[in-house]
Amino acid sequence: MDAQAARYIGAGIAALALGGAGIGLGILFGNFMNGALRNPAASAKLFGNMMLTFALVEATGLIAFVVAMLILFV
């Protein structure tokens, strides 16, 4: 196989990790909505924590992005 073709395939496989980040974000936002709808008074306090967790979960997906970029361009 051409080395460049293998690179593209590898970068595509690396992007699969975004599925994990997607599942994590789904669980996170779903549970936030669950908690906020059950107890609307607490939603303001939950929002800050949710945003922090959102950034932490998103970062794992972005590490996959960094790996894909390293495969493609470095």
Binding site: L52, A55, E58, F73
Partner: protein
């Protein structure tokens, strides 16, 4: 096709401004990253000085912005570190404002995003890490090492737990820096890729089809402003959490 196929990473290129300068075998040229760092510092100083110029009881726009930033960090320190954290306010505030303004100014067209380079974010994160560790040892002495021994764990698990705790402590500057840098790079690459779709798609189909990626860019740039503020917030709050760990140890 190859000629106009510019790499989406081209926008992060560091270029020397006004000739290269070599000193003791190192390349110490003044580059666009340094220029934009100076611009960020200048904008921060201007915003702060203009906001604090005349102190009114009912704040104007500039004063309200400065007061909001101050109260935001002051409350963050109070909630996460407690009353001892007040001493470290200038430090956390400087980190937060620098990251926030670098992220936001980087979103201007043709601007250079200072925080899109891992060496910048890693230097910031390493500074946080070393400062927090020094504070921990200064407050608790060698007792700070017991931070790596989880409370309530059975003794036979300790040979496994202590290395994990040590590794997770030393991985902090890496995760802190990669999070910020990857968010900035990913956002700008996404904007570039969508932007490169607009003209080819408009020429290929009906002219209106180019509007689809254009509309996506408008939406994504709103998301990027959210991410820029959020990442500065996350950087500052993780600094607070690490500081709390060093000051109070086992919570």
């Amino acid at each position: 096709m190859a000629a106009e196929h510019e790499s989406p990473l081209e926008q992060f290129k560091i270029e020397p401004i006004g000739g290269e300068i070599h000193l003791f075998g190192y390349n110490v040229s003044f580059n666009n990253s340094a220029l934009w760092m100076l611009i960020v510092i200048g904008v921060i100083t201007a915003v702060m000085l203009l906001g604090m110029r005349k102190q009114a009881i009912v704040p104007g726009r500039g004063q309200a912005l400065v007061e909001f930033l101050h109260d935001f960090i002051a409350n963050m320190l109070k909630d996460n570190v407690g009353p001892e954290g007040k001493k470290y306010f200038p430090w956390v505030f400087s980190i937060f404002v620098f990251v926030l303004f670098s992220n936001l100014l980087g979103l201007l067209p043709h601007a250079f995003t200072v925080t899109s380079h891992i060496i910048v974010t890693f230097a910031l994160a390493l500074m946080v890490f070393i400062t927090v560790t020094v504070i921990g040892f200064a407050r608790h002495g060698l007792h700070f090492l017991s931070f790596f021994v989880p409370k309530g764990a059975p003794a036979w698990l300790l040979p496994l737990m202590i290395p994990i705790e040590v590794i997770s402590y030393f991985i902090r500057p890496l995760s802190l820096s990669i999070r910020l840098f990857a968010n900035m790079v990913a956002g700008h690459v996404m904007l570039f890729v969508l932007g490169s779709f607009v003209v080819p798609l408009g020429l290929a189909g009906l002219y209106v089809s180019g509007l689809i990626p254009l509309a996506a860019i408008v939406a994504i740039i709103g998301l990027e402003f959210l991410i820029a503020c959020l990442q500065a917030y996350v950087f500052a709050i993780l600094t607070c959490i690490y500081l709390n760990d060093a000051i109070h140890m086992h919570h």
